[in-house]
Symmetry: C2
Subunit: 177 residues, 2 copies
């Protein structure tokens, strides 16, 4: 395919935010939550009501976003995407002020070829001008004005039916490489 | 006019970055540079060659962006713009990692009604999807895909002739209110 502009989300697309949150929850409360239990649900909605605020606490803690694990196959596929297309990393990070520099630094460590010109930290993603967007949140896809919005599969979005899906990074490669 | 989406730059549009840089230069070298001397020039190009790197040093120093003065009439006009239009604050901040949280915090202090959803920290502004953009840099205006790109007048851009101008915040009010 010709060179296109692709906007790619970070949390739960490039970075495994859920796995870290589940680990922190286990460390705090001693309870392991299997990923399968979150089918169609956000973690905060699954937890006992009195525990739900810890998710907010985790996400607002300094350091949370700096050492997130990388999603499977993301590094290899991203490198190839970068060489073939115009890739922008677009994260709705403004809600979490500590995450801003941490996300920059995480990208610089694990994807050092991604130029700062191609990083975007925002809130409402309707501001994004691109051909394609890949994101795990429907709210970031519904107002997209480009050619196609792809939902990257995550436990919380399993019941969503409005968008074409990319289930993993191998499928991102099949679509764009 | 009807409600439109306006993307507004921070440095040297909302925040007086130049005045702070000139003050730091004076503090370091004891030399006052009058703003008029910078007609059509960036500060780094005006300085003696051996001093030019201090501009980079200032901009990469923790704290630089946190206490910038606010441009004249910006607070009053911004409040009215916010009530009438869809305003996004869009800053090419990714080059300066320390600035990211500082810019968020500066906006929250001086423009507390501006929601995090409407803040964007990016690099290449061709990613921005809006009706209008107001910016002091030609590089941020040339690839704009909306209705009109406005150059906000600053000493460094005085020789630029390609764009319609807004010379100050009173003219922003005249155009959009």
């Amino acid at each position: 395919m010709d060179k296109v502009r692709i906007a790619i989300d970070m949390d739960d697309v490039m970075a495994d935010t859920l796995t870290k949150a589940l680990q922190l929850y286990k460390d705090r409360f001693g309870v392991s939550i299997p990923v399968e239990a979150l089918h169609g649900m956000h973690l905060k909605d699954y937890l006992p009501k009195e525990h739900a605020p810890v998710v907010w606490e985790f996400l607002h803690s300094p350091g949370f976003f700096r050492d997130l694990p990388i999603m499977e196959d993301c590094q290899e596929v991203m490198k190839a995407l970068w060489e073939k297309h115009e890739v922008f990393i677009v994260s709705a990070a403004m809600e979490f002020p500590f995450s801003l520099k941490e996300k920059h630094d995480w990208l610089q460590e694990f994807f050092p070829y991604i130029h700062w010109k191609n990083m975007v930290l925002c809130g409402d993603k309707s501001i994004i001008n691109a051909d394609y967007i890949i994101d795990d949140h429907a709210k970031n896809l519904v107002n997209f004005t480009g050619k196609e919005a792809y939902m990257f599969t995550a436990p919380h979005n399993m019941k969503e039916t409005r968008f074409k899906r990319l289930n993993n990074w191998k499928e991102v490669a099949d679509r764009f490489l």
